[in-house]
Amino acid sequence: MQDRSAFQEFRAAAIAMTPLIVAVMPIGLVFGAVAAGKGLAPAEVALMSALVFAGGSQFVAMDIWTHPASWAALGFSALLVNIRHVLMSASIGGKLDAFSGPARYASMLLLADEIWAMAEMRASNGRLTPAWYAGLAVPFYCVWVLTSLAGALLGAFLGDPKVTGLDFAFPAVFIVLVMGFWKGRETGAVLAASAFAAVLTHQLLPGVWYIAAGAAAGVVVALFSGAHREAHA
């Protein structure tokens, strides 16, 4: 792997990430427009995208935004929406052999869903290096911040995202990523359990507990089907 320079790794990763970067552009624009509609200044929108950098929790924050903003409610909501990142960083954390200690922690700061999913893919069919990770994360991060700002500035010119269907870009990206993790029947069982628990929790509890419930159900099914297979082996 020494024959490939860090720059080549960075470039190859950025190219692999291009479809996701294009897909996140409308999502960033929609977020900026929604936030501006809630009364946030363009500078505040860009600051949130730059510091939080977690689309799901930023959209949820806009749902519950008040004036003046309540830091406790918004901080807790972000914690709950992003609790899945604990699982994501635990999963990718075991695949960072090429990273120095500080680089591991620094890279986790940019662990958005799309970057994490692409890093997992790289780790499963190649070697995940710091340069590769940076190629996934840095351009994506810049585009997220810039398109949020552009959305806040353009605001009403973009039209209603429900009518243009752009609000569906975010779930659509996730659907495609889920399909990429398909590995046969066991994946099907994990997905079914996760979907069932998430929908049920979503119907019964307010807020975003459904994400934690779905993740937990999927993991439990994976453990159970594994134990079952061993018992029959």
Binding site: L51, I175, A213, A215
Partner: protein, 103 residues
């Protein structure tokens, strides 16, 4: 362009919470040894988390969203990511128009 103090505090609180979750897993695996069962659980995390995020949109928002989600999933088996996402976005917009709004 000014930044309101309460808004700034809220943004910082959200950032701190998010960073805590992103560092959390890395800290966790330093104290938990990864055996066969832990490995199986970790491998199930990526699809389980992504599925949980999209499930309410895909299954209980309305027929337009459910059909568009299915179309996106089918497209993803054959087409690259961007084309599949475009199919999802266009089909949800058309279906909402045809079936009436569900929002």
């Amino acid at each position: 362009m000014t930044v309101d103090l309460n808004t700034l505090l809220a943004i910082v609180a959200m950032a701190v919470a998010t960073i805590a979750t992103r560092i959390g897993g890395l800290v966790l695996i330093r104290y938990v040894t990864i055996g066969e069962n832990q490995k199986r659980a970790l491998e199930a995390i990526p699809p389980a988390v992504l599925m949980a995020v999209i499930a309410p949109t895909a299954f209980v928002t309305g027929p337009a969203e459910t059909i568009a989600a299915a179309a996106t999933a089918v497209a993803a088996m054959r087409l690259p990511l961007l084309a599949s996402v475009a199919i999802g976005v266009v089909s949800v917009a058309l279906l909402r128009l045809l079936l009436g709004a569900s929002w």
